[in-house]
């Protein structure tokens, strides 16, 4: 069992915990948080694959993918929260 | 020799962190918990930083770590103050 496998399995667990919570929770904010946790799991799998033992240079490509993913996740969270705010405002006017 | 001293410093730092964590869990109210968190954790961080700087031996790294410690000190002091002030405003008497 290598370090890669350990963190990849951890990432899998987080991915599914988050996915399950996204499906089962009621409020939108809780789901956004769960989705972010799920995303973190995916990132863990990618970075675990990129890992090399000390001495060899690390594989930069999955790391760049995850960096892009991180920024996209924050942007998507921001948009989701703005939608949530607008939704609440619309519902309050009914 | 330096490594032994560094090990002692790091262990002492961890001891303070443990104390802070126990305080967080066991103290009765918000103000005492804040007290445990800021005081114990910051001192623990200082000892950890000293140990790591000694272990590495580079002056530049030691200065950077010192800067990190000072920033954490300022940040946690300000946040502890704000949290306590907020709680006081909500008239949760100490």
């Amino acid at each position: 069992m290598s370090l890669t496998l350990l963190y990849a399995l951890t990432g899998t667990a987080l991915f599914l915990l988050g996915l399950r919570a996204t499906l089962l929770h009621a409020g939108l904010l809780a789901r956004v948080v769960a989705l972010n946790v799920s995303g973190a799991g995916v990132f863990l799998i990618l970075v675990a694959i990129a890992y090399r033992e000390a001495g060899q240079p690390v594989d930069p490509i999955p790391q760049a993918l995850v960096l892009t993913g991180l920024v996209v996740a924050v942007s998507a969270t921001a948009l989701a929260l703005a939608l949530h705010r607008r939704l609440i405002k619309e519902q309050a006017h009914e | 020799m330096a490594e032994l001293l560094a090990l002692l410093l790091i262990c002492a730092g961890l001891g303070f962190y443990l104390a802070g964590a126990i305080g967080l869990l066991r103290f009765p109210d918000l103000y005492t918990r804040l007290h445990a968190l800021t005081k114990a954790d910051n001192l623990g961080l200082g000892l950890l930083v000293a140990g790591v700087a000694l272990l590495h031996g580079s002056m530049l790294l030691a200065l950077k770590l010192l800067l990190v410690w000072l920033l954490v000190l300022a940040g946690s002091a300000a946040s502890a103050h704000l949290i306590a002030q907020h709680a006081l405003r909500r008239s949760r008497e100490p």
Partner: protein, 325 residues
């Protein structure tokens, strides 16, 4: 026995990550969920450092834990006063989802076990690392982001711009915060310039060491969040009529400059975004600078929550929200 000792830190870290993730998603109190999520982000940052991904550790601490946490905490204010608790899904559906999730977990774990136990085939990473001298930078992650896969980064900046456009069109910004007391004020007073300095350093050093445009942009956005939390509603963004133009130019400059560079090098007979090797370093720095400012402005606007009060235009909102004086 020594085998277990070398594994212990990683086992602990992995267990803490799963435990904290579980606590985050299963907490019933929303505020506690968000606070746990921020802690989770910081722990994840340590995991990135452990997995030899320092660029990611910087970005996670700034974006994943910091900015995401700040956005979520600000959004907590939007929640309607606790009315009727929405009922969850029926019992059998929950069990079904649990079963599906568990089986998917086992399937993925088995796939990972099988594929990761085999020796790795020739990886793309080796090709990326061997071409590093010609890429114009010496940080491999920056080389991948802004040279080999520059097209992906361009599209990522478009995603950021689209998200901020969505945020701005969906409503007015949130009400501001009260003016800071002496403690917060004195902290912000020297912290914001320090953050700006750190952002500039991260941007510059990204070519050789961990750092780069995204980390620098997130640090600047953090400075903006601090300004807003201390009562300065503009959060460092430019105000007024001219300011609005400056803000819009800054937001589009990330994508705009990238496109200009990409199309510009086509003028010299090369393909889209094929930098001339002698100019790679300079062009990458130029693009990164514009990207930093664009990301910082976008995240700052996202934290404000919507269209700033000065952007009058036609307001589709039914109720004009009074800003607190």
């Amino acid at each position: 026995m020594s085998g277990l000792f070398t594994w212990l830190p990683d086992l602990l870290l992995a267990a803490m990550l799963v435990g904290l993730g579980w606590a985050t998603v299963s907490s019933t109190d929303l505020r506690r969920s968000v606070a746990l999520f921020i802690a989770f982000g910081l722990l994840l940052s340590i995991a990135w450092a452990r997995l030899r991904a320092p660029d990611l550790a910087l970005a996670e601490a700034a974006l994943g834990a910091g900015l995401s946490g700040a956005l979520l905490l600000a959004a907590l204010r939007d929640e309607p006063p606790a009315g009727a608790v929405p009922e969850g899904l029926p019992r059998w559906l929950r069990t079904l989802v649990d079963l599906l999730a568990a089986s998917l977990a086992l399937a993925l774990a088995w796939v990972l076990w099988e594929t990761l136990s085999e020796p790795a085939p020739a990886r793309l990473g080796e090709a990326a690392l061997s071409a590093l001298e010609r890429s114009g930078v010496s940080n491999p992650v920056t080389a991948v982001l802004l040279n080999y896969r520059a097209y992906d980064t361009l599209l990522e900046l478009v995603v950021v711009l689209t998200a901020v456009l969505g945020v701005v069109t969906l409503g007015r910004e949130r009400p501001g915060y009260r003016r800071a007391g002496p403690v917060l004020y004195s902290l912000v007073r020297w912290l914001v310039p320090l953050l700006i300095l750190a952002a500039g350093y991260l941007l510059w050093i990204g070519a050789q060491a961990p750092g780069g445009a995204f980390q620098a942009g997130a640090t600047l956005a953090a400075a903006s969040v601090m300004l807003r939390l201390s009562g300065i509603d503009s959060a460092g963004l430019p105000n007024g009529l001219a300011g609005r133009l400056v803000l819009r130019v800054t937001l589009s400059a990330g994508v705009g400059l990238f496109l200009l560079v990409g199309l510009g090098v086509m003028g010299t007979g090369r393909g889209f975004l094929h930098y001339p090797p002698a100019w790679s370093g300079g062009l990458i720095l130029l693009i990164e600078t514009a990207a930093t400012l664009a990301i910082a402005a976008a995240l700052a606007l996202a934290f404000r929550g919507g269209r700033p009060a000065g952007w009058e235009a036609d307001d589709p909102d039914h109720s004009p929200r009074e800003r607190r004086p």
